[in-house]
């Protein structure tokens, strides 16, 4: 009987040794280490605590391998950022201008910016970022794919020479996703950025990296920031998985704000004590898009008929925090006067008119009420669901209403859901109709209308829409820097789209955010921000005055 006991004892000892070794990696066995507080002596209470969905949002590795706009990182900045009404604001650039054809862009840099380790920021950093990302084939280098070279005539001037005219090149740098400027003096010694772990991220932004633990990332306000200094002590990003947990954390006071709330959740928080809900309008645009080479969407009259079968009002009500978009593609709330007023309201919801147009297109109903096409077969559409349109289940809600209206026209509708972006895009290429969603930054300028032409990469557009006249106008808008000329060309392009209808705009939705009113105020003042983890918000909010 001693042998089994001995074996059991040896096994237990081995297990304990393995466990201690593994737990040592967590740091839990070296607990109660006293750490250094921030240099300004701020307590944890003075920090804004914001949630992120996953640990990978906390600058793991190094910034060169991260996705996302520079505004999101809080530590790093880009040259420019774009406001919601189309105005650009300089961050590391004071001013900028382009050559007449938009193929050369000159950025005049701020002179008082320093990296967080005190090294001055210069144009060499801008050039280095471009050269380094391309030399190392980093995925985010695609943002600079239009750039042939960057030159530095002096320490505070960076000249971008593009491979083709690009009148809205600053838009590329600013959003969706945008790109930052990164320190040459740090990365020049890094030979393998894909696997290098940066122990101390150094940027020029309004927040400086302070420390981190698994699931937590703390930054303190930069006292030497070149721009408007933040009034808060700093920011702590905390991993809170899932929007439900984030809402509970907000209610309990564990975090100070949360954004991208589903509409229903936003409405449910409206009466919560110490919580205020607000919206950032027109952040996403939804469209019913046609594949113009696939039957029956290859028939212009069919497309026109369907354009009158989209009940935008009901869909907007169902989505919540949404408003119908009565024009082609550009969202009025962000595109401003770039929207052609003559083509507004052309796609009114009108089922009798839709039936009439279908009849003119050679479709008819049989005895059972099913729509029969010119080929003699019942018309049934298969629609893929996925991509950005699936966020928050928006596409399914749209389909719920759309299916009813299609049924009134005698058209059957099947849907197939895809959880993978690549598979969804493949399905889109063969489906006659699909729902697409784009951030408002891709619906706010005539340059975005180029989505309906051949892309600069020579790829076909999503709609497989071919119109040589339209393509020529797309070339013009890409080669024109004058705003008025671009607007006029954009108007012509919208007229063509209104005639050919490769897509039917449905609505635009708002981003819903909420914050605790007992901690910090001013969240709604940052009108250009797209969420709460955004430099533009965190540099304007301030602690709630105890006396207010």
């Amino acid at each position: 009987m001693r042998k089994p006991l001995l074996v059991a004892l040896v096994a237990i000892v081995c297990i304990i040794i393995v466990l201690v070794s593994l737990l040592h990696g967590t740091g839990i066995l070296s607990a109660s280490t006293t750490k250094v507080q921030s240099s300004q002596g701020a307590s944890l209470e003075d920090y804004v605590v914001l949630p992120v969905d996953s640990p990978s949002s906390l600058i793991t590795g190094n910034i060169m391998t991260q996705k996302g706009a520079p505004t999101g990182s809080l530590i790093y900045e880009g040259l420019v950022t774009k406001g919601r009404t189309g105005d650009y604001t300089g961050w590391l650039a004071d001013s900028w201008e382009s050559s007449g054809d938009g193929s050369t862009w000159t950025f005049h840099l701020v002179r008082n910016a320093r990296w967080h380790d005190g090294v001055p920021f210069t144009s060499e950093d801008v050039k280095f970022t471009h050269d380094y990302m391309k030399a190392n084939n980093l995925p985010m280098a695609f943002v600079l794919s239009d750039v042939e070279s960057v030159e530095c005539p002096d320490q505070y001037t960076a000249v971008f020479r593009l491979s083709h005219p690009y009148p809205v090149f600053p838009d590329r740098l600013a959003q969706s996703p945008g790109i930052g400027v990164y320190p040459a003096h740090i990365f020049k010694d890094v030979s393998d950025p894909a696997s290098w772990v940066d122990p101390d991220p150094i940027g020029t932004g309004p927040f400086v990296f302070q420390d981190r633990e698994p699931g937590l990332f703390r930054m303190q306000a930069n006292p030497s920031y070149h721009g408007e200094e933040s009034e808060i002590a700093g920011v702590i990003l905390k991993v809170v998985s899932g929007i439900d947990n984030q809402v509970l954390a907000l209610k309990k006071g564990d975090i100070d704000a949360v954004s991208s709330l589903p509409a229903a959740v936003g409405m449910s928080l409206a009466n919560e004590e110490n919580i205020k809900v607000y919206t950032i309008p027109d952040t996403t645009g939804y469209e019913l898009a046609f594949n113009t080479q696939v039957y029956p969407a290859d028939n212009p009259l069919f497309r026109k008929a369907i354009s009158h079968a989209v009940d935008r009002d009901r869909i907007s009500t169902l989505l919540g925090y949404a408003r119908p978009n009565p024009t082609t593609f550009l969202i009025p709330g962000v595109a401003g006067d770039f929207v052609n007023p003559d083509i507004t309201g052309l796609y009114g919801y009108n089922i009798p008119l839709a039936e009439e147009l279908l009849h003119d297109a050679g479709f008819g109903k049989d005895a059972s009420g099913s729509l029969i096409g010119p080929d003699g077969k019942a018309v049934e559409l298969t629609m893929p669901l996925g991509g950005k349109g699936a966020i928050g289940g928006a596409d399914e809600k749209i389909v719920t209403i759309f299916r009813e209206d299609l049924a009134r026209l005698g058209i059957g509708l099947k849907t197939v859901a895809y959880d993978n972006e690549k598979e969804y895009r493949k399905a889109m290429s063969t489906a006659p109709v699909f729902i697409d969603a784009m951030p408002s930054g891709l619906h706010d300028d005539p340059d975005d209308l180029v989505n309906f032409a051949y892309t600069p990469l020579g790829d076909e557009n999503y709609y497989r829409y071919h119109n040589p006249g339209y393509d020529a106008l797309a070339q013009d808008v890409r080669n024109t820097t004058d705003r008025e000329s671009r607007k006029e060309t954009g108007y012509l392009m919208q007229e063509i789209l209104a005639r050919d209808i490769p897509t039917v705009p449905i609505c635009s939705t708002d981003t819903v955010a909420a914050y605790r009113t007992d901690r910090f105020r001013g969240w709604e003042e940052a009108v250009d921000a797209n969420g709460v983890v955004d430099m533009r918000v965190l540099t304007v909010i301030r602690p709630v005055d105890a006396s207010s």
Binding site: S32, P139, I236, G242, L248, G387, N420, E421, L442
Partner: protein
Amino acid sequence: MYWNYLVKRLAISIITFFIAACIIFLLLRTMPGDFVSNLVLSFGNTLPQETVEAFYRANGLDRPLHAQLVTFFSGAFTFNTGTSFLYGVPAGGLIADRIGWTLLLLIPAAVFSLFIGVLLGVWSSWKQGSGTDSSLLAFMMAVRAIPSYWWGTMAILFFAFLIPFFPLGGYTSLTVLDSGLSIQDVLWHAALPVVVLTLVGIPGTYYLMRNSMIHTLQEDYILFARARGLPETRVVRHAFRCALLPVITMSALQIAGLIMGSVFVETVFSWPGVGLLTTEALQNRDLPVLEAIFLLDTVAIIVANLVVDLSYPLLDPRVKRYGE
């Protein structure tokens, strides 16, 4: 004889690992979607083909499948599956940093669920046919049917929010940033996830123990013991020893269930373990991390089965005698 048995089991385990690794490799490469396309398509941009090709080249994904398989195996035995696409750090290191956190939940949950499941199973079998037995059976069926992430969500809602006794999630309070880790704080944060994992692990052990005890209590030697006038508690103790053996075998498979359960529980509780890492790696098609995680899971299950197989002859003299 025992050493022959040991060598044979080790050899079979290595072959099993090899086959499982091949399946992992092929399954992950046939999964739809890939990291770089998902990343950039998520921004609504078209990705230049040269960027995709450069990414594939940099990560060896442009090579023939058999060449990739050789590279995979050369790193598999050291858990060196490459650099995480998402995190930009070695996948093995990423897991090494997190495995301790996962074990902090898994080990107590495994021990508690085994202990409680065995106790309840014995009690239920002793009261077979009674209201107690029926109630326990029904309760265990309900617990088993409901997924672990639901239990986790409800636990958070009731015991961390409505009755704010426990934290909402995470592994520590913010005080860790100023004062470092506190063991008490970590254990407080671990309490709810451990309870949930324990709860979902109990039914399997309970069913097996109950059924094994019922079967054993019908054996002739138990009838003989009762006929001899032994107290019922002693009868149950005799039956318990024999009935426990299948449960020990099953405990190895329970580990597999707990590992999968920890994926959901860690995600719900934002616990920084391998489970949360798995969720994120799956969503982003982070192949090196997924390969390392699934290899680790495979090794854990193989080792658990091996330990059970090798300990069986030591626990049951009948097995050892028949083997001889």
